[in-house]
Symmetry: C2
Subunit: 353 residues, 2 copies
Amino acid sequence: MSTAQKAKILQLIDSCCQNAKSTQLKSLSFVIGAVNGTTKEAKRTYIQEQCEFLEKLRQQKIREGRINILSMDAGVSNFAFSKMQLLNNDPLPKVLDWQKINLEEKFFQNLKKLSLNPAETSELVFNLTEYLFESMPIPDMFTIERQRTRTMSSRHILDPILKVNILEQILFSNLENKMKYTNKIPNTSKLRYMVCSSDPHRMTSYWCIPREETPTSSKKLKSNKHSKDSRIKLVKKILSTSILEGNSTSSTKLVEFIGVWNNRIRNALTKKKSFKLCDILEIQDNSGVRKDDDLADSFLHCLSWMEWLKNYESITELLNSKTLVKTQFGQVFEFCENKVQKLKFLQNTYNND
Amino acid sequence: MSTAQKAKILQLIDSCCQNAKSTQLKSLSFVIGAVNGTTKEAKRTYIQEQCEFLEKLRQQKIREGRINILSMDAGVSNFAFSKMQLLNNDPLPKVLDWQKINLEEKFFQNLKKLSLNPAETSELVFNLTEYLFESMPIPDMFTIERQRTRTMSSRHILDPILKVNILEQILFSNLENKMKYTNKIPNTSKLRYMVCSSDPHRMTSYWCIPREETPTSSKKLKSNKHSKDSRIKLVKKILSTSILEGNSTSSTKLVEFIGVWNNRIRNALTKKKSFKLCDILEIQDNSGVRKDDDLADSFLHCLSWMEWLKNYESITELLNSKTLVKTQFGQVFEFCENKVQKLKFLQNTYNND
């Protein structure tokens, strides 16, 4: 990876931010998935941090001609992940894999419940880590949804939340260490991927831009249940649009489904209007609870990173163009503002359907 | 490791337990550090589980001529570990290493506090894992004190306890995975160690056998603070006895200190009667709080495993002897009862000093 190139582009972006208004910095942070800092200074620092990641992905995509991202939403009985690929000249990412697993069923054959005994968690998460490498291609980036450590109401943490935090942390560490130890093996192809936490808040705010808040709507909008349902609804819309709209340049089409996925979604659509995501994945969730939210979230995390990377690529192209620097900076913030409007348009279209 | 040999000895021990009284099974569980089951059936199962571990250690010791155990008490600012070695024909284990580390100081150069950001915990615990392999010999077993997941009074879990649970779990997993991945490297010497959780309750009850409970004493005895102080006091006694009693067969001598340790303990003893364990390790704990309890606990965990292994070896010798089976079984429980009495004598001697 060319460090000089990276330093140059990060420097260009920071110069672009130097004299920008706070609202401009906010929209730039939004379209690349950066934390939105409370001060201009903090906004610039967070923008640089996120660009650091995205620049690595951009250069890997140039090198390999494509980028593969696997995004996970960790849970013991509901572990969901989605894997997508973006080719160099394709406008839309393709869905390669999308699964929900009951970890106790898959790795303990339901013979035991996952206790907090470190020997058991170590064994289970090692097998899960190896499972994520079974299907090719190996991702260039693994993202794991960042778990909250607080129960909504109290400053304490409950057992199930402790368990999923431990699962998230060991998985993150295992993925990094597998690369460190495997790359010590001489004469073998080196593993080269990134592991990164994905913030559920930034994912949610990218896809559900709060409309002008009316007193009643904002309370309802913020309820956890409502936010989950709206994300599931959004993913179903993205799926149906992807199948029904053949032409991949239409603005409301965000992702491609290939092969088996195409038929499954078509079947689910034709069978009944209100299908479940679990139906598409043909999940016989014998635990009875056919939850869709983990599937929706893992899908949206993956799609967010693809969107943030594409937006970042557009920004770097503007900054590498031959036009005057001042014009470039103006074009960058214009691009960001347009992107925000497009997303609002998309959400309105989907909500009005 | 000869599986047949292992199966044979485990079978012999179970036959020995088959017709034993509950009190006999209790003393056998006690001297080998097994969980004390509530029923005879449960006692036998837990005895077998513990013997499985100890048999692996015993065979490794026969093969290598010695056994090295490294025991840890995890904490972010107070990470303590103790490493001991037991040679085949030596009656007492030797202390090879004994440290307390402030993890943020050592691995983050105090530049940042350990947040629960998985990227930071992964980086810190990887460096800690590698650090544990820096000094030779590589242990045959790593034990990590099992952390409680509950705050004493409430059914909830507080942040610091979440952090130390995550530290314990990632460390356990890292140690196991380092071996799995490293052993995939062709033509390199294989890593061969065990990783096991060490139960603080079993350690504490081995060294602080509750005297006949009087109403007042039992409440005081059970207070967490009192139990910690008595363990620190016990370790100081073990240290001073080890130095002052040259002859290693005296019943109150439990461990050998060699080289630099000898002088440090002697200096600490001569300087002032009430020395701190931190003084011996020359820890300038600039955090101001020179806590001794982590040092004491890591020491006692390690010494417990050495004691449980030695007791297990004595039991297997009795069961492998030429005498009548019935007599062997009687001798086993006699040995256990004597061991319990010796420990009570030791504690009384120490407490009366």
